[in-house]
């Protein structure tokens, strides 16, 4: 369970460096039950990335609180960081090791797991992103989409209670996207909550339980997918041509 209560995030000076600052997230209240598949949608600059970064304490709200599994994030960062896995919007920001295998193993190693368990998780996570057997590849030599897939594998290997993915599908080719979506479906079935940030609902709407739409930092929609798709195009979000055509489009409807 993630509980967001009246969260506001300001950036000093904001983008223009002017006085006053930018309000990136504006009084957001939201609660994500375990096992829910939530989409956070909104136009560029609407505050999606800033909002989800408060879930594991990478951004500290200027007002309001975030609690993960009942404990305030600011009280117990360790708990929040192990409970909330995150795939960054830019995979390059997330990769910390030189080879694919070492990078995916990095998180589990920090949890102090046994070697066999680490190996199992790494193999599992690489399989989920169609990168089996590429553990020895050097990250510097990967193509853009391959890098994105390694970033996702790194978060999967943590087997977190809550998984946040910030625009995870943008660089992925079709087989990789399907494979990741399959894994997300399985995770949800085992009680993991999955939060996908995006402005293109075509790839994920079929899986979603609920859609939250942001505009200039505030929640303007919080509804079931079908209902939400009516408001969302006005927010600059791409929705499937017709909701019923979805499964044909993504090949991954429920």
């Amino acid at each position: 369970m993630i509980d967001v209560d009246g969260v506001t995030c300001r950036f000093d000076g904001g983008a223009t460096g002017e006085a006053g600052g930018v309000v990136a997230v504006d009084d957001v209240t939201l609660s994500v039950p375990d096992g829910e598949f939530l989409i956070v949608a909104g136009a560029n600059g609407s505050g999606k990335t800033t909002l989800v970064r408060t879930f594991n304490g990478l951004v500290e709200p200027d007002a309001g609180t975030v609690a993960v599994n009942g404990a305030p994030v600011s009280d117990d960062l360790v708990a929040a960081r192990t409970a909330v896995g995150m795939v960054f919007q830019d995979p390059r920001d997330q990769l910390v090791a030189a080879t694919v295998g070492a990078d995916v193993a990095f998180g589990p190693e920090n949890l102090g797991l046994a070697h066999e368990e680490i190996d199992r998780r790494v193999d599992d996570a690489l399989a989920a992103v169609n990168m089996d057997g590429r553990g020895d590849d050097r990250i510097a030599n990967l193509s853009g989409g391959e890098r994105g897939r390694v970033a996702i594998a790194g978060a999967l290997a943590m087997e977190p209670d809550h998984l946040v993915l910030d625009e995870p599908f943008t660089g992925l080719d079709e087989p990789a996207r399907r494979s990741v979506l399959d894994r997300l479906r399985d995770l949800r079935a085992t009680g993991t909550s999955v939060i996908v940030v995006t402005h293109d609902l075509r790839d994920v709407l079929g899986l979603a339980d609920r859609v939250v739409g942001l505009s200039t930092g505030a929640i303007v929609v919080d509804d079931a997918p079908r209902a939400a798709t009516e408001t969302l195009p006005g927010l600059g979000v791409r929705v499937p041509g017709g909701f019923d055509r979805l499964s044909a489009n993504t090949g991954s409807g429920p």
């Binding site: 304490g57 360790v78 708990a79 960081r81 192990t82 920090n110 949890l111 209670d161």
Partner: protein
């Protein structure tokens, strides 16, 4: 599914960022080690390493600046190609330029201590030019002292020869590096650390 978190001892946000920066500056000194020019008056080559040492002290302060150069030496010892001309290995740490190398952590810490007047960092805009230059002159003195001692010890040179080959020959080059460091620190395009 729940992972026990009691045993996980997180490094913490501030220390992790500092560690990343320290590693970055260590790598920067390593990159500067590739930039070498022959010195017309000495067989030892001029390199940009010292510029990296200065910047580490200025941007990271005495503690993390010194730590950064410790990482540099450790990385070089286990094989990162970060020493002069891209060389590496424990050998270099007992070789003829060993004195220079071992002096780097001390010099970076000294530069940082003078610039920031203590362990906590202060805004670089408030640091006057004399302080900035003075800190680097002190750093240079430390590097030369240990470097010359190293040359004398490792190559069994006499004091006069060691000072000539190891210090005097580099003074103009070091002056240029101090000027470059001042330029970088004062450039508002670099919104660093």
């Amino acid at each position: 599914m729940a992972t026990s978190t009691e045993s996980v001892d997180l490094v913490g946000d501030e220390a992790a960022t500092n560690l990343a920066r320290a590693a970055l500056f260590a790598a920067l000194v390593g990159a500067f080690a590739y930039v070498t020019f022959p010195n017309p008056v000495s067989p030892v080559r001029v390199t940009l390493q010292v510029l990296g040492v200065f910047l580490a002290g200025v941007y990271l302060g005495p503690v993390w600046g010194g730590a950064s150069l410790v990482l540099y030496l450790a990385a070089g010892a286990v094989g990162a190609p970060v020493f002069e001309g891209g060389s590496a290995g424990v050998g270099q740490l007992v070789g003829q330029s060993a004195g220079y190398l071992w002096s780097y952590p001390l010099a970076a810490a000294a530069v940082g201590a003078v610039v920031h007047r203590g362990a906590t960092l202060r805004d670089l805009d408030t640091v006057g030019l004399p302080t900035l230059v003075g800190s680097m002159v002190l750093g240079t003195a430390i590097i030369y002292a240990l470097g010359v001692a190293g040359l004398a010890l490792v190559l069994s040179l006499g004091p006069v020869e060691a000072v000539t080959v190891g210090a005097a020959a580099f003074v103009p080059a070091e002056a240029l590096k101090i000027a470059a460091a001042v330029g970088i620190v004062r450039s508002d395009a670099v919104a660093a650390a």
